[in-house]
C-alpha cells in the first residue's frame, strides 16, 4: 500500500511540465496517497500549476548565492541546510520515491532518505551508481543512442514511474487570471476574435535559436496573410531578441513585445489565448502544449523532436535534416548551419494551410525541403504519441531500427497497459511514412544487423554457460579450493563483456541493446559469488532474449522490403518490356 510518494524534480520548467503525465498517472494509480513534489526555488511559483500535488518541498540554494564565497564556511551552512531539509523529509517515511532529476545530487539524496521503493537514478550504500526500474535504465542509455530512440522523454519518465502515459496528457492547473484584462494590460490593439499568434524566440541554449530576422519575416507574412496579432514572449535576458525582431519587421508597431514583462502565470494565460505558438524548444513550448495551444516547434542544435516534442497531438515540428543534427549534448558548434535550413516560408505556408483547413500538410509551393524534417505529432495505432514525417524522405536504417525499437522496448522493459490487442504493422507504417522505392541497400543493411544480432545471441549463450559453471563450482561448498577456477571463468566473462561492448560501438544501431546489457550489469550489487553469477546469468539471458526479439521484429520488415523490391523487379521485367527477337 503506497501512502506517501515523493517526487524529486529539481529540473527546469519544461521538464516539470513533462512530468505532469507521471504525476497524473500516479494519482490515478494511488488515489489515496500523498504526493510530495520537490522543486528548486526558481520554479517554486510555477510548481503551483502542477496538478495532483499535496505538498511542495522547495530546495532553496539561491539563498546562498549572494553570500561571500562557497569556499569559506559557507559549505558548512549548505551542509546543515541539506541535513535539515532531508531530515525533515525523512520523518514522512515515504514508501515510494520517483527521481526525475537524474543528477548525482538526487542520487545521494535518495540514499540519505533511505526510501526502499525507488524508481530512477540512485546510488547504492557504497555510493556507486544504480538505476532503479528498467525504463530509467533505458533513459540512462538514451543520450548515447538518440538517433534510434523512439520515445519521448515524457513516455520514458511515465513508464519509469510505473504508470502509463496513454490517457495521461500533459496538463497544468488553469490560471485564474482573467485573460481579457491581462491582454488589455499589455495591448489595446487585440480584439475579441483576433487571431493571436505567439512567438518565443529565445531558448536556454543560444545555438538552438532561429534567427530574429526569420521570426520577423514570418511575423510579417502572418500579419499580411492572416491579419494575425503577434505577441513576443521571453524572459528578461531575451529582451534584445524581441527588440531585434521588432527591428527587422515591417510592422514594428503591430508587434506586441512582452519579452521580460510577464510572470509565469501571465505567460501561461497569454499562451493559452494564442492559436499558435511559434517557438524554439523551450519551456514555453511545453506550456503551450499543456494549455492546448498548437505548437509550431523549431528544433535546432541539440534539440531532438523524438525526445522533447510537445507531448500531445496536433503540433508541427521543423528540424534540419543534416548529418550533424541533432548534435550531441555538450558540444559547441562554431559553424551553425541547421538554423538556416528552415525558412520562414516553410512555416508560413503550412500555418496558412492549417489555419484554413485544420490539417498539417506540406504544399506544392514549398521548396528546399531536402534538408528539413517536418513532423506532426499524433496518437498512433499503438496508442502512443508519435511523430509523423510530413515529407516522405528516403528511408534509412535508423528509421527502421527506431520503429522496431518502439515495439521491442515496450515488450522488453515492461509497461502497465495491456497491449495484447494493439498491433502495429511496422512495415506498413514505414511504407506509409517514408520513401521506400529504393531499398536494396537497406535490405542488405538489415540482414547485416540480423547477422550481428545472431552473433550477440551466441555470445550471450556462452555467457550463460560460463555463469552456470561458476554457479556449479560455488555450489560445491569449499570456495577456497575452487577460487582459481572461478577467477578464470570470471576473466572469460570479462572478455565476453568487452566483445559485447565493442559490437555496440561498431554497430551503433544495436548500441541500445548492448548499452542496456552494460546498464543491467552495472546494477548488480551482489558480492556473494553464487548470487553474483546468477545475476550475471540473468543479464546474459536478457540479452539473448532481446536479440532474439529484435531479429523476430526485423524479419517481417526485411521481408516486406524484399518483396516490394521483387515486385518492382517484376514490373521492370514483365514480358511487355523484354526485348524479344523479331518483335
Amino acid at each position: 500500500m503506497v501512502k506517501n510518494i515523493l517526487i524529486l524534480n529539481m529540473t527546469r520548467m519544461g521538464d516539470l511540465i513533462q512530468t505532469t503525465p507521471t504525476i497524473t498517472g500516479l494519482r490515478k494509480k494511488y488515489r489515496d496517497s500523498n504526493i510530495t513534489l520537490m522543486v528548486t526555488k526558481d520554479f517554486e511559483e510555477f510548481s503551483k500549476n502542477i496538478p495532483h500535488i499535496n505538498k511542495r518541498v522547495v530546495i532553496d540554494i539561491k539563498q546562498f548565492r549572494d553570500r561571500k564565497s562557497l569556499n569559506g564556511f559557507l559549505w558548512i551552512d549548505l551542509y546543515r541546510y541539506l541535513e535539515s531539509l532531508l531530515d525533515e523529509l525523512k520523518i514522512n517515511n515515504y514508501d515510494l520515491l520517483i527521481n526525475l532529476s537524474h543528477s548525482k545530487l538526487s542520487a545521494f539524496m535518495i540514499s540519505y532518505l533511505g526510501v526502499k521503493n525507488v524508481r530512477g537514478f540512485g546510488c547504492d550504500s557504497n555510493g556507486d551508481r544504480i538505476t532503479f526500474d528498467p525504463w530509467m535504465q533505458y533513459f540512462g542509455t538514451e543520450p548515447f543512442n538518440r538517433r534510434i530512440n523512439p520515445f519521448n522523454l515524457v513516455e520514458i519518465f511515465t513508464r519509469g514511474a510505473g504508470v502509463t502515459p496513454e490517457n495521461n496528457p500533459i496538463h497544468l492547473i488553469p490560471s485564474s487570471i482573467d485573460t481579457k484584462i491581462l491582454i488589455k494590460k499589455f495591448s489595446n490593439s487585440i480584439k475579441e476574435g483576433d487571431l493571436i499568434i505567439g512567438m518565443q524566440a529565445g531558448s536556454s541554449i543560444e545555438g538552438r535559436r532561429w534567427s530574429p530576422k526569420s521570426f520577423a519575416i514570418l511575423a510579417d507574412g502572418l500579419i499580411e496573410s492572416l491579419g494575425a496579432k503577434l505577441i513576443l514572449f521571453g524572459v528578461d535576458s531575451e529582451k534584445e531578441l524581441g527588440e531585434q525582431i521588432v527591428y527587422f519587421s515591417k510592422y514594428k508597431d503591430e508587434l506586441i513585445d512582452l519579452t521580460g514583462r510577464t510572470n509565469v502565470d501571465e505567460l501561461s494565460s497569454l499562451v493559452k489565448r494564442c492559436s499558435y505558438l511559434i517557438t524554439n524548444d523551450t519551456g514555453t513550448m511545453h506550456i503551450a502544449a499543456a494549455v492546448g495551444t498548437t505548437v509550431v516547434g523549431l528544433f535546432f542544435a541539440h534539440a531532438h523532436p523524438y525526445e522533447t516534442a510537445p507531448y500531445s497531438p496536433g503540433h508541427v515540428i521543423f528540424q534540419a535534416r543534416i548529418e550533424c543534427a541533432p548534435c550531441s549534448y555538450g558540444v559547441e558548434c562554431n559553424n551553425i548551419v541547421c538554423v538556416h535550413k528552415v525558412q520562414p516560408d516553410h512555416l508560413l505556408l503550412m500555418i496558412q494551410r492549417h489555419h484554413a483547413n485544420g490539417v498539417w500538410e506540406t504544399t506544392k509551393t514549398m521548396s528546399n525541403m531536402d534538408e528539413i524534417n517536418i513532423f506532426n505529432t499524433y496518437i498512433g495505432e499503438d496508442s502512443r504519441l508519435r511523430l509523423r514525417s510530413l515529407i516522405k524522405h528516403p528511408i534509412t536504417l535508423n528509421d527502421v531500427i527506431r520503429e522496431v525499437y518502439a515495439e521491442h522496448w515496450l515488450k522488453s522493459l515492461g509497461q502497465e497497459m495491456d497491449r495484447s490487442n494493439i498491433h502495429c504493422d511496422i512495415g506498413e507504417l514505414l511504407f506509409r511514412e517514408y520513401d521506400c522505392s529504393n531499398t536494396d541497400k537497406l535490405c542488405m543493411q538489415i540482414d547485416d544487423k540480423m547477422v550481428t544480432l545472431k552473433s550477440l545471441e551466441s555470445i550471450a549463450s556462452i555467457g550463460i554457460k560460463l555463469a552456470n559453471q561458476i554457479i556449479n563450482l560455488c555450489s560445491r561448498g569449499n570456495l577456497t579450493k575452487t577460487i582459481d577456477a572461478v577467477k578464470i571463468l570470471a576473466e572469460e566473462i570479462e572478455k565476453l563483456d568487452k566483445k559485447i561492448n565493442q559490437i555496440g560501438f561498431v554497430n551503433p544501431e544495436l548500441k541500445s541493446i548492448t548499452d542496456m546489457f552494460v546498464k543491467r550489469k552495472e546494477n548488480i550489487q551482489e558480492n556473494e559469488p553464487t548470487q553474483l553469477a546468477l545475476d550475471t546469468k540473468g543479464c546474459y539471458a536478457k540479452l539473448l532474449e532481446e536479440c532474439t526479439s529484435l531479429v523476430s521484429l526485423l524479419i517481417p520488415v526485411s521481408n516486406k522490403f524484399k518483396s516490394s523490391n521483387i515486385d518492382t523487379f517484376h514490373a521492370v521485367v514483365s514480358s511487355i518490356n523484354v526485348e524479344v527477337p523479331g518483335r
Binding site: 540554494i61 546562498f64 548565492r65 569556499n71 564556511f73 559549505w75 541539506l82 541535513e83
Partner: protein, 602 residues
C-alpha cells in the same frame, strides 16, 4: 694557574665551543669588579651593580622566596651576573641541568676571571651572547621556568625583551601552520638544500611548497647555444629571468604564503623581488655560498627583507655596506629523515665501502691533493672529475650525478669519509676557510666518521675532538687516516658523538625554526592577524564552526593536519574509502555537488 685559566680549562671540557669563543673574543673592559662587604666579588657596569654590595648570597636567597621549583620545569636564568642566584637555584633545583642566558660576553669573561666555576659546570649550561632565535631552536622552551635576574635585565633590557618576544613567536609558530614558498635555484649545490627546507618544514607541521625553477634549467642553458651574439644572449637571459620572476609571482599569488624563502642562485631579479613585496609578506634569502666566490649578493642583498648567510664577520660588514642590514648567520645542516644510518647489503657494501671515500665535485684543491691518497683504498664519487687523469680510475660513478640514496650509502659504508672543502686556488686546505659545508652534518647524521679540514666556524658547531676530527694540511690528513684506520673503535665513538650533536642542534628543522622565529619576531602581529583572518588551520576552524560535539565536527576530526583542506579533500577521501557511505559522507557529497553546480552557473 690563575682562576681564569683554570675556569677555561673546565669550560673546554663541558662547553668547548663556548670556551673557544671566550678565548677568541677580545676582553672588553666594560665590567668593573668590586668587592661586596662580605668579600665576594660583584660586577658593576657603569653605576649599576649586578648584585648586592653587602651580601650577594643573601640577596640571591631572598629573591628566590617566591620562585616555584619543581622537578618538571627547567630553571632558566636570565642574566648571569657573577652567578650567586645561579648557585642558589642549583642548590634547590632537582632538574639535572639549568640554563643561564647571558647576553654580554664581557660579563661572562669577567665571571671566569672572578668566580670559580667548578660548582656550576656540571649542571649549568651557559648560553652567552647568543641570538634568542638560536637559543629557542636549540633548546626546548615549553617547560622553561624563567628566573629573571633583575639587574641583568636592566643592563640588557633590549635583549631580554627580544628573548621574550622570541618565546612568544616560537609558541605561535609551533601552534599554527606557516605557509612557506621556497624558490629553488635552477641547479647547483643549493638545490638539495632547497628541497630539504621544504621537507623539513612540512615535517614540522608547516606547509611548504617549491617553485621548481630547476624544471626550467634546460631552457635557461639553451639560451647560450641559441646565438653567438653575446649581447643577444644577455638580452635573452634577462627576458628569461623576467619570465621566471613572473612565474614565481604567479605561484606566490596562488599559494598565498606567509613567507617566501629564496635559496642561493634562485632566479629572482631585484625587479621580481619588488613585485613579490606587493604580497606584503617577508621575503628572505638563504645565501649558502662562499661570498668571496659568488658575488651576486651585491646586486640582490639589499632587496631582501632578511638575508641569511653561512659566513659572518667580514661578510656582515660588506652586507651592511650595501644596505642589507637584516643579515643573520644560519649555517647549513642535515635532514635526519634523509641522512641517517641504514643497513647495507653485502652487495652494497662491496660497491660502496672503502677505507677512504670522498663524495663531491672535482675542484682544484681536491684534484691537487687527492693523488696523495692513492696508496689507500680510496674511492671518489661525484662529478666534474677528469676521468683520464690519475684520479680517474678512482672515480666510481663515471662523473654521473648521484641521487640521495647513493650518497647516503657512501656515507654509511666508508670507514673514513673525507670532507675537504672546495677551493679553486688552494692546493690543499684553505687556511682561512670559514663556513662549514652541509656534508659535514650529513655525514655525521649518517653515523659516518669523517676527517674535515679546519674551518673557523666549525668549533662553534661541533667539538673538534670529541665529535669530529679536523686536519690542517694534507700531511696531517694522511697521518690521521693512518691513525683512525688503526683505531676504528675510537673513530666510531667520535662518529657517534658527532651524530648525537648534529641531531640535537644541526638539522634543517633547527635552522628553519630559528629562521621562522627570527623573521616573525618582527612580523608577529601581521602573522597572528593572518591566522585569525584566514582561519589558518581550516580544519580546526571548520570544526569550531560546525561545533566540536556535532556529528559533522566529529567527522572533520580525521582531517586535522590536512594541507589545503577543502570539500575536495573530503570527497577525495570518500572516493577511496570502502563500505557503506555514512550520513556525513552523503551530506558532504551532496554539498560538493551543489557547490560545483553553483560554480558552473557562475
Amino acid at each position: 694557574m690563575n682562576l681564569y685559566t683554570k675556569n677555561l680549562a673546565l669550560l673546554k671540557v663541558t662547553q668547548p665551543s663556548l670556551a673557544k669563543r671566550v678565548e677568541l673574543e677580545p676582553l672588553q673592559k666594560i665590567v668593573n669588579v668590586v668587592m661586596a662587604k662580605d668579600g665576594n666579588p660583584i660586577p658593576k657596569i657603569g653605576s649599576i651593580s649586578l648584585h648586592s654590595t653587602y651580601n650577594p648570597f643573601k640577596e640571591a636567597s631572598d629573591s628566590l622566596l617566591n620562585f616555584n621549583f619543581n622537578s618538571v620545569d627547567q630553571p632558566v636564568i636570565y642574566g648571569l651576573g657573577f652567578g650567586y642566584h645561579v648557585l642558589e637555584i642549583l642548590k634547590r633545583t632537582r632538574h639535572k641541568e639549568i640554563l643561564v642566558i647571558e647576553p654580554l660576553m664581557a660579563i661572562f669573561q669577567a665571571f671566569l676571571y672572578s668566580v670559580d666555576i667548578k660548582s656550576f659546570v656540571n649542571n649549568t649550561k651557559f648560553i652567552v651572547a647568543t641570538p634568542p632565535p638560536k637559543i629557542l631552536a636549540s633548546n626546548q622552551s615549553e617547560n622553561w621556568n624563567v628566573y629573571e635576574h633583575i639587574p641583568s635585565i636592566r643592563i640588557s633590557d633590549v635583549y631580554f625583551k627580544r628573548m621574550n618576544l622570541a618565546i612568544k613567536t616560537s609558541k605561535v609558530i609551533k601552534k599554527n601552520r606557516i605557509k612557506v614558498l621556497i624558490v629553488n635555484p635552477y641547479y647547483g649545490g643549493s638545490l638539495p638544500t632547497a628541497n630539504y627546507c621544504v621537507q623539513a618544514l612540512n615535517e614540522m607541521g608547516h606547509h611548504a611548497e617549491s617553485v621548481e625553477c630547476e624544471k626550467f634549467a634546460d631552457g635557461f642553458f639553451a639560451i647560450n647555444n641559441s646565438t653567438r651574439n653575446k649581447e643577444n644572449i644577455e638580452s635573452l637571459s634577462k627576458q628569461f629571468s623576467g619570465f621566471m620572476g613572473q612565474l614565481i609571482a604567479a605561484k606566490a599569488a596562488d599559494f598565498k604564503p606567509d613567507l617566501i624563502l629564496a635559496l642561493a642562485q634562485a632566479p629572482l631579479t631585484p625587479e621580481a623581488i619588488r613585485n613579490l613585496k606587493l604580497l606584503n609578506v617577508p621575503i628572505a634569502f638563504w645565501f649558502v655560498e662562499d661570498f668571496r666566490n659568488l658575488t651576486y649578493w651585491k646586486d640582490i642583498g639589499s632587496c631582501y627583507d632578511y638575508f641569511f648567510t653561512i659566513q659572518r664577520g667580514e661578510f656582515f660588514e660588506k652586507l651592511s655596506n650595501i644596505g642589507a642590514e637584516n643579515h643573520y648567520y644560519l649555517p647549513q645542516a642535515c635532514l635526519p629523515s634523509m641522512h641517517r644510518k641504514i643497513p647495507l647489503s653485502t652487495e652494497e657494501m662491496n660497491k660502496y665501502s672503502s677505507d677512504v671515500s670522498f663524495m663531491g665535485a672535482g675542484y682544484f684543491n681536491r684534484v691537487q691533493s687527492f693523488p696523495r691518497l692513492l696508496d689507500y683504498d680510496f674511492k671518489i664519487w661525484g662529478t666534474e672529475w677528469n676521468l683520464d687523469s690519475i684520479l680517474g680510475s678512482r672515480v666510481q660513478n663515471n662523473n654521473k650525478r648521484l641521487n640521495s640514496d647513493n650518497i647516503i650509502k657512501i656515507y654509511n659504508a666508508a670507514k673514513i669519509n673525507l670532507n675537504l672543502h672546495s677551493s679553486s686556488f688552494h692546493e690543499g686546505v684553505n687556511p682561512v676557510g670559514d663556513f662549514v659545508n652541509p656534508r659535514t652534518f650529513e655525514i655525521a647524521a649518517c653515523g659516518g666518521f669523517q676527517l674535515i679540514d679546519d674551518r673557523s666556524e666549525l668549533d662553534d658547531l661541533m667539538d673538534p675532538i670529541k665529535e669530529i676530527v679536523t686536519f690542517s694540511s694534507i700531511d696531517d690528513l694522511c697521518e690521521k687516516i693512518d691513525y683512525y684506520l688503526n683505531n676504528s673503535d675510537e673513530a666510531k665513538v667520535i662518529a657517534s658523538c658527532g651524530k648525537e650533536r648534529v641531531l640535537k642542534e644541526h638539522t634543517i628543522q633547527h635552522r628553519m625554526e630559528e629562521m621562522l622565529i627570527y623573521i616573525f619576531m618582527d612580523n608577529l602581529e601581521q602573522l597572528t592577524t593572518r591566522f585569525k583572518v584566514e582561519s589558518r588551520d581550516p580544519v580546526v576552524s571548520s570544526i569550531d564552526y560546525a561545533g566540536l560535539s556535532t556529528d559533522l565536527g566529529k567527522y572533520l576530526e580525521q582531517f586535522r593536519g590536512s594541507n589545503d583542506f577543502s570539500i575536495k579533500t573530503m570527497v577525495d577521501k570518500i572516493s577511496i574509502s570502502t563500505g557503506d557511505l555514512s550520513k556525513e559522507e552523503l551530506l558532504v557529497l551532496m554539498t560538493d555537488q551543489l557547490v560545483k553546480t553553483e560554480s558552473n552557473n557562475g
